[in-house]
Each structure stands twice: as C-alpha cells, then as structure tokens.
Amino acid sequence: MSLARRRALWAYTFILVPLAIFFFFRIVPMFQAFYLAFTRWHADPAQRAFVGFANFQRLLTDTRFLQAVRNMGFYLLIAVPGQVILGLGLALLLQAIRRGRGFFRAVYFLPYITPAVAISWAWSFMLSPHLGVINAIFRRLGLPPQPFLTSPSQALPTVATIVIWQFVGFHMVLFLVALANIPRELYEAARIDGAGSFGMFRYVTLPLINPTLVLSLVLATGSPTIGILQLFTQVLNLRFYDPGGPIGSTATVVLYMYQAGFKQFDLGYAAAVAVLLFLAIVAITFVQYRLTARRIEG
C-alpha cells in the first residue's frame, strides 16, 4: 500500500469515529422520532401501538398547540430580522471605529456566552413591573411603567427583545468577519466612481456579505442553539411557574413538545410535534435560502 493510500486510510478511520457517533446519536434518533410520531407511547416497546396519523390529527385541533404555532409566527417576525439587522448594524458601526473596538465586541458578545437560564433570571428581576430597574428608568424619564412579562400583550415582544439582545453579538461577529474579508480596493474603486456611503453599502458590501447574511438568517431561524423556531430555555425560565404564560402568550412549539413529552409522558404526541417542527424548519430554511441568495446576487 502506498504512503498516500495509507494516509487516506488513516484519515478515513479517524473520520469514521465521529461519523459513527453522529449517526447513532443524531440520525438514528431522528428516524426513531419519525417512527414514534405514528405510535401511542408506552414504556414497553412491545406495547407501543401504531396509530397512523392520529397524533397529527390531534395536533390540528389542539388549541394550545395552535396558539404556540401562532406565537412562533410573531417570534419569527420580531426576533429574526431583529437579530440579523441589529447584528449587521453593530458590525458596520464597530468597523467604522478604531478605539475600543475589541472592548465593544466583547461586551456585545458576552450575552451570547452567558447561560440562557441566568439571563432569564436576571431579566425577570429587571423587568419586574414594581421593583425592576427598567421601570425605575422609565419613571425617571417620565414614561409610564410597563407590565412587561406579566401582560398577555407585552410578554411576547418582551421575550423576543431579550432573545435579540442575547444573540445579536453572535451575528455581529459573523458580519465582522465577513466585512473584514471585503477587499478595500473595491470601496476605493466605488468611491472614484462617485458612490456615496449608501451606494457603497448597497452595491459593494451587501452583495459581498450575502453568504454570511444567508447563514445568519438561517441560523437565527432554525438552528438548535439560537434559532427562534427552537426557542425554549428563555421561555421556560422567564416565568418559572407559568412557562409560556401569561395565558399561553409566550408559549413556543418546543416548550409545548417538552410539556407533552415530559409532563404528560405522551412521547408519541411529542414526537409528532418534533416531526412537524423539523418539516417547518426545513421548509422555511429552504425558502429563505432561495429568496435571499437570489435577490442579492441577482
């Protein structure tokens, strides 16, 4: 065996180990979830009855699930553009300054690496309608105090804002890297051609950071860590005894799935939610990819 082949063989061997882990702990459970979605859950595998689409039919008439789906629409509308646009804005601002850039970068990135549970508790303190610091500031500014997380109409936008605040630093770093990779000559050429700041942003920056923009959008929408469609920890912890409240106004699909699975021990039903969520993430990501990737490059 030649040296090159032996090397390749070694490489494949090493790749195989993580691949096996990935296969058995990610791919296999995914297919298992698909299977479970069509069964009535029982601890004893022999007693799991196949129920066809019954779990899915139940979902379609479950008002609490439908409320969570509606909430997801609002979360998507507020928090995805919020994260991406603010992330890009911050990156552009940071790129324009020299002094203290590292400091600001660290400050904006900090919430991203802080545990979501700690963030939720801290915000729950700060947003207390009566004793929180935010309303104290509002009062100083002469603004009326707000109920925030205790109000069925304000709770969702409040949670979305906290999520934006938490993840905006992540998107900012993505965009900073993308901006740093744009050759300076392009800006100089554009300037010579008479382009203003907006023109340079529209015709130079935006097309060149398009792949990052698409990535940022896709991650903000559906990724397990920062994806809005998988929002869970914050919602669970901002109202610890009434997660998803008040009156279900902040409930998310993943929270619903968690409650069905681990509060009601109805894992077949929870798996049906997981399958629908999976399909939704795939579909939305696909649409996003097609739309954003085309429009900006075209």
Partner: protein
C-alpha cells in the same frame, strides 16, 4: 507452555468465582429515585441506613436529580430497562405515568388494599386507579396561611385573620403602594403557586359550589358560586389591590415565598413543604394559621397533596420483593416520624394524625388540623389542568375577561382533557 499456564490460571480464577457465587449470599440491589431536595435526600439516606442494617441482604442505591430534569430522566430510563426500581412522584402525575406503562401496581400480597384504606389518610385514594394502589406516600401536605408576625405587631394587628373579610382588612393595612408601584404586598398572590388550588378546592367550595363531580370526571365549577369565588380572588388584585400575580419576580422558583422571606409580602398561602425554606430564609418572626373562611362559622376547606413512592416495571422477582420491603419500610410509622422531624411534612398514617401534641403545635398544628377537611384533586393530567386554572385566573386579572366567561372557557377545556382521558381507557 505459556498458553497452558494461562489456561490453568483462568481455570483457577473461574473456580474461585463459582465458589464465591455458591457460598456467599449475593445481596439484592435496588435503586430508588427522587428529585433533589436537601431535607428529603437526607431523610431517605437515613432511612436507607436503618433499612440496610435490618435487612443485610438488600442494598439500596439512592439517586437524585434536579427537579427540572427529574421527569425527563424517568421518561428515558424506564423504557431502556434501567433506572429506578422505586420512584418518587407527585400524585397528580400518576394517571400519565400509569397509562404510559412506567409503573406497576403494588402487589396485593404485600400491600393489601383493605389494609391501606384502613391505615392511611383517606386522601391517598388519589393513588388508586383501576381498583389498585400504585404507590404510597410517606407524607402528605396541606395549605395554610403564613404571616409575618413582626409586621402584624408593627401595625397593631392582633393575630392572624379568621375570615376572608378580616384577611382583606389586614392585607389592605399591610400593603404599601408608592408612586403607583407596589412596594409591599399584603398578600402574595400566586395563581401559579398554590392559589390555583386555593380557587379550585377551597374558595369554590366555601362559596357554596363544587369544582368537580365526586368521581372527578365532570367539571362543575362553571357555576354562579364558582364565578363568585373566582371574582373574589381576582378582586384581591383588581379592587382591593393587596397584591398582584408575579410579584415580585416571575422568573424565580417560589417567587412569592422568596418575597415573603424578603419582607416584600406580608402573607402567603403555601404548603407545609414550604416550612423548610421559610425557616431558613425568613429573618423575622412568622406564624402559620389555618386558611380563612367566609364567616366565623363557615365551612373550612383545604387542598391536600402528596408525593408517593411507586414501583416501576424494572422491579421483578427478588428485586420486586426487596423493593416492596423497602417501600413498606419507608411508609411505616417509624419512617413517618423521622420524616416529620427531618422534612417537616405531615405523616400519612391515620395512627399518627390525631396526636394531641402535633395538633396543638403552633407550626404543624394548622396543617394537621386541615387534613380532615382537605381535598386531593384527582388530576388526570396535572400539568394541563393546573395550567387551565392558572389561565382562568389570569384571564380575569390580566385579560379583563369576566369571571363567568373565564370559568366557562376553562371548564370546556378541562372537560375535554377529562373526556379524552376517560374515553381512552
């Protein structure tokens, strides 16, 4: 040569293993799971020490998990054939766990139904399904009014309120609003704490209604009496302004209890399980009283609950026998006495419930005296039914929905939950 020697060594070792297996009595090992709660963990450890000393042939492994992860661990472990032989669960989870095959009924030979019903407090009937008992508790809990004695004295209030009218009067005196902000609540309203029980099993009954049919299969609270009860509770925030739900911080477990400990709340309604946290956390004199009633002679009602020890399908043969023995031990009078001392929860056996010294105890007394008039709601889906009542309360307080309408919405949703459960059996 080497291989022959190797074979000899292996042979000798195998022989030793077989000999040990034949002559030594292999202890039966069983696993007990509960969620992490310091005093409960210490009490079970102590009980295991006592049990193992009396039963040298049985070894009990005690494993605990944070509360938030507990059900997840059980959900995953039992189907995989690992995890506990005995598991501790909230009684309201029983129907869901039983339906999903996570539990086995208590064997009649060691736990005769008649004996259980003769010896345990009647409310543990909530652990009975399909004519069988699926677990037994060491302790039961009821609700009571906790009040800040220092504050009461400061405002010249003599003792805890007896009636709801007195309660409102006291709470109004102790509530402090400053610049439109609630600085101290006279009452710590917590619909998502114990107050959904308060409305469901205490207020509705005191106002002359019944929350459910006797067998808990039909929702009956959407009635004029139920409406008056819910309105009465909501008015604490809307009219009397003695408190607000979520005060002081909704993101913290037991927020109203912590608010009470911090002196931000003058009175709360909480379970006997809160005693430990309040004993450790409150830096002032505090007292416990039975829940108020409508008139000085009015009916008393209370909500009782319990955590029970149940057997999982993993317990079979010798392990089942050992697990049953351990379960008998931790639900014995001895264990209950230790539990009351160490954890502060009331004993579940009738023989311990009428002790004069306990009934007269300033702390345990109000909880103990409440047991005879307590109701343990039979939940078929505790998580969902709890949520439905919390939402009904918040719809009135936060959503401006009339109490009758909020109850009608709740009743329709909860009846559907009950129908789905009983219809699927």
């Amino acid at each position: 040569m080497r291989s022959t020697l190797g074979r000899k060594v292996v042979g000798v070792l195998l022989g030793m293993v077989v000999a040990v297996g034949v002559f030594a009595v292999e202890p039966v090992t069983i696993v007990y799971w509960q969620y992490e709660f310091a005093t409960k963990v210490a009490a079970i450890n102590e009980l295991i020490r006592m049990f193992e000393a009396e039963n040298p042939g049985i070894r009990v492994i005690h494993e605990t998990f944070p509360y938030a992860a507990f059900a997840e661990k059980v959900a995953a472990a039992v189907p995989a054939g690992v995890g506990p032989h005995i598991v501790n669960l909230y009684y309201g989870w029983l129907p869901a766990w039983q339906r999903a095959g996570y539990l086995q009924p208590l064997p009649e030979e060691w736990f005769p139904t008649e004996e259980i019903e003769a010896e345990f407090a009647p409310l543990i009937a909530a652990a009975k399904m399909d004519g069988r008992y699926w677990g037994l508790p060491t302790a039961v809990r009821t609700l009571a009014l906790f009040y800040n004695i220092d504050l009461f004295e400061q405002y010249g209030i003599q003792g805890p309120p007896e009636t709801w009218e007195e309660f409102l009067e006291v709470a109004r005196k102790l509530t402090v609003w400053r610049d439109g902000m609630l600085v101290r609540a006279g009452f710590g309203m917590a619909p998502d704490g114990q107050d959904h029980h308060l409305v469901r099993e205490v207020l509705i009954r005191q106002f002359g209604g019944v929350p459910y049919s006797k067998d808990y299969r039909y929702v009956l609270y959407a009635s004029p009496e139920g409406t008056r009860a819910l309105q009465f509770y909501a008015d604490m925030a809307l009219v009397h302004r003695i408190g607000e739900p979520d005060f002081p911080f909704p993101g913290v477990a037991g927020y109203y209890r912590e608010g009470f400990n911090a002196g931000l709340i003058a009175m709360i309604i909480d379970g006997s399980f809160a005693l430990g946290t309040i004993q450790r956390g409150a830096r002032f004199r505090w007292g416990v009283a039975e829940l108020p009633r409508l008139t000085p002679e009015g009916e008393r009602h209370n909500f009782a609950s319990f955590w029970m020890h149940a057997l999982t399908p993993r317990a079979k043969g010798a392990e089942l026998e050992a697990a049953a023995k351990f379960l008998q031990f931790i639900t014995s009078e001895r264990a209950m006495e230790l539990w009351l001392r160490e954890v502060g929860e009331l004993p579940a056996r009738l023989s311990l419930l009428d002790r004069p010294e306990l009934l007269a105890d300033p702390i345990y007394g109000p909880f103990m005296r409440a047991l005879p008039y307590s109701h343990a709601t039979f939940f078929v889906d505790e998580a969902r039914q709890r949520q439905i009542m919390i939402d009904a309360i918040l719809r009135v307080i936060r959503g401006g929905v009339p109490a009758a309408e909020a109850l009608a919405i709740a009743a329709a949703e909860e009846q559907a939950v009950l129908d789905a459960f009983w219809g699927g059996r």
